[in-house]
């Protein structure tokens, strides 16, 4: 009987231990329990990386991070300039820009499931129904539709120059539509292309210069952040960033607010439920916050320090900021509470450019 008790205790101990993340072993993780950070890596002579961060949320928990889980798990590098990622079902997809690939990973183990090759300069994802994902691509100004069941590219559509962020709007009067912000890529553009469920262009909206990213507030309203067009010679003469409101019924876009500073070019729009948060300048701005209902362009930093990327975890009510330390070494991921107070931080790979929170 005594031995039997020992057996039960031992089994329970092992079981409990097996449920806990192992801070020391990247090969024994459930990568759904933490934040993924897509790091660009050095521009020409390196490779992007995928970092993982788990933050302590109970007394028995601990905070830890792995700088390069992709290579650790899969035994090879990810490729030049990692751009963004998305979680779709049991998969994580990572767009690798100059490699022209999308890495399809098991969301729990980070094991490589498939590599989509032959793409151009992939940028951002948007999940679609039926286990499909839209992917914007700068090279030939296309949007690809990837089918994760068949692991193939099932559709390709030409849009305007420099497709960036996308938004999927179901059940509009025009049916399900996909909005594609077309920034111009290496040049300039100011349109949003509206695609229907058959991936046909049904409308083109004129918006601010260099549209970048969309966010939806709790009322269902969609917002579009435009970066503005930089003037490389006299930065102050650039067109300022702006915020457009999208009317999902009429499929129209209207100017809502605009920055007064033409030298700053905002990016990475997210909504925290009561406000819109974005980086005030895409290279070295601070994360600023604009309460919903306000039309005053925010200039006061909301999250401390500069942010190269920003994300909001809607379930945990936490912000994350990706920070570049010196461009030649590891970056940093800082966690903030809903009020913008820094809680803790971990190291990441080089140049953390995109953050995928736990609940996304």
């Amino acid at each position: 009987m005594k031995n039997f008790k020992h057996l039960i205790y031992s089994t329970l101990t092992i079981f409990i231990a097996s449920c806990q993340p192992d801070p020391a072993n990247p090969l024994n993780q459930d990568y759904r329990n933490g934040v993924l950070v897509v790091n660009e890596g050095p521009f020409q002579t390196g490779t992007g990386t995928l970092s993982f961060a788990h933050f302590k949320r109970s007394a028995s928990d601990s905070t830890y991070a792995f700088l390069d889980v992709f290579q650790t798990v899969n035994g090879r590098v990810m490729g030049n300039i990692a751009q963004s990622a998305v979680r779709v079902g049991n998969h994580v997809l990572v767009a690798v820009n100059l490699a022209g690939t999308v890495e399809m990973l098991n969301a729990k183990t980070m094991a490589l499931e498939h590599t989509f090759t032959g793409l151009g300069l992939p940028r951002y994802f948007q999940a679609l129904p039926n286990n499909r994902v839209a992917l914007s691509d700068w090279q030939d100004n296309r949007v690809y539709v990837l089918d994760l069941n068949t692991k193939t590219v099932v559709d390709t559509v030409q849009v305007d120059a420099g497709p960036e962020g996308m938004a999927y709007l179901p059940n509009t009067p025009s049916g399900d539509v996909l909005l594609v912000a077309c920034s111009g890529g290496y040049s300039d553009n100011n349109t949003v292309v509206v695609l229907n469920a058959q991936m046909n262009r049904i409308k083109t909206l004129t918006v601010g210069d260099q549209p970048h990213s969309f966010a939806q507030d709790p009322s269902g309203t969609w917002w579009l952040l435009n970066q503005g067009k930089p003037d490389w010679t006299t930065p102050a003469n650039g067109t300022p960033g702006s915020l457009y409101r999208i009317d999902a019924n009429a499929l129209t876009a209207s100017l809502y607010a605009s920055s007064a500073d033409g030298s700053l070019h905002p990016a990475h729009l997210v909504c925290d439920g009561t406000g819109l948060v974005f980086v005030s300048d895409r290279y070295a701005g601070s994360a600023v916050r604009m309460p919903l209902g306000s039309t005053v362009w925010p200039t006061v930093p909301f999250l401390t320090g500069t942010s190269y990327s920003v994300a909001f975890d809607a379930l945990k009510k936490e912000f994350y900021s990706g920070k570049i330390v010196d461009y030649s070494g590891p970056g940093q991921l800082v966690r903030y509470n809903e009020q913008g107070v820094a809680l803790d931080s971990v190291s990441t790979g080089q140049i953390p450019g995109f953050i995928l929170p736990e609940s996304h």
């Binding site: 050095p42 020409q44 002579t45 390196g46 490779t47 090879r76 590098v77 490729g79 030049n80 300039i81 100059l98 490699a99 022209g100 690939t101 590599t115 090759t117 793409l119 151009g120 300069l121 090279q139 290496y186 930089p230 490389w232 010679t233 930065p235 650039g238 030298s263 700053l264 070019h265 300048d281 290279y283 070295a284 010196d326 461009y327 030649s328 070494g329």
Partner: protein, 581 residues
Amino acid sequence: MICTHRRPFLAVVFCFLLASGQLVSAPDTVRLGTADVHALPFHFRAPARGLDSSAQGWSASDWLHRGALLRTTTPGGSQLVGLSGLPAVYTGFHWLGFALTSPTLGLTDGSWINPAFRNQTGVHTQLGGQYLGSGNLGGLVDLSAQWLGSEGSWAGLEAYSAGGGGATVRCRTNYGTLGFWASSARYRFPYQDYLGTRRMRTGADAQNAQLEWRGERRWGAHTLRYGFQGILQDRGLPRSAASSYGTGDRQRDHRLHTGVRWEHQKQNWHWSRGAFGWMDFQAFDARVVALRDSHQTAGMRVEWAGTHPNGHVAWGWSQMAAWGPSHQTLGVWDGFVKGALQGTGRLRPGLAWARWDVRQTTARSPLGNASGGMRWKWAGGPEVQAARHFRWPTLNDLAWIPGGNPLLLPEAGWALEVHGFIPRSKTQKRHWGQWEWQSKAMHLTQSIVWKPIGVQWVPVNAGSWSQWWNRLRWTAQHREWMGWAEVQYTLSNAAFAVPWRGNAGVAYRKGAWTSGAEYTAQAASQQTPRWFTGRLWGGWQSGHWSVQINVQNALPGTVEYLPYYPNPHWYTVINLNYKFK
């Protein structure tokens, strides 16, 4: 005599270095007149004349043999050469005593060495930045360490197994030497990309044409040296093996250098006056992005110098214009004045001072910089040097569109070096060979770093680093055999620092036959991978004819000097040379 009649120009160049404590021309005397290329530290020369490859200008192997850190993407790509464990921006290249550094990039490409004059080239790593001006902390590559040299006329053909070939002609006359080199290489070779897919490298081809004339006239105590260099290069820049397969950008370089130097001896003074003019053009044609980027500069420089056994004084001035779509049009003039004192006795101190000023004609900030240096040299023994060094921002740093920062300050710092030989003098040979040791501590502040500020990337004076670089080299020669080994160790907080580096080789000559092998290994830095490479060579010479075969990177794997830019597993270069009487 203070300076030799044969090479007064060289004497002046090395007097600069001597007076400031950079080079020691002879172990037991600092008489300036003994300065000559033959007094260079012997390890910088080829392991045995004629055993080295003469193909492709200076090949990567040539630089590795000389202890340099090398950044190159393919055999035909730009060769960015770092000395003393530092990046290439701290290596100076001189021709006829004038700096060749591209003012826009702050760099000189090691592939600009014309093979017809390769044996007249010297490499120095000893401290001298305070006297040679901007960006010489790592060392100096002197393309005219010997202006004409003793080498006669020859012609050669070369063929590369990676595809292509070239021809070199060196024509020595009573008036000077003409060197011509033309080559076209495809550099198609298999490699494996980061996905493990075997690919064939394309778009890494290189076309080179170089014409150089070096003339010399002597009368009485006067010597006039003059020459020109013309360089045309069109090269493919492969894309990273961690990116999608495809052809990379193209780089075109057009350069023209011309110079004249008149020297004469009067009593204890050696006088030198020189003028140098240049034009350079560089263009990048990007493939991923529809972008063509080019820039060009043109300018001239004049110098005057007087050298005495106990000192040296010099001044110079230059005017330059830069233009092109990639940066603002601007004019720059700079000037310098410098002096040095040389002590006597068993412990011979030296003291040097220099003032360099740069002003942009568009009324931007001046970039003056005062430098100084000291040296203690024990007769026939080790020497200790201390110097303040600096590096000006490049024209790209100052005026690039977008982001050029006209408010940049020069990088500046201090360095301390000890250097010596075992046996004590490098002319004392032992049957077990000779050791040379060198230790250099360097500190730099106001490091220029490009950072994103506001809307664009901007260079700022934001960094500092300290580095302690050590080198130990052994060389021995016994009958037909010659061997050498070198180890470098660097302790640094800089991202570019390579902690360990080793090189070893052996050469054998028997009658008309020569052969050898050399291997180099380098540890990883934060920016570069670790690698191991080697070469094998063999040759035969009879009368006027000689043939040589070089196997570069004679290893089963690729070598990457920069991450994800593989060079061929191995490739062969065959040379056929004919030496004229």
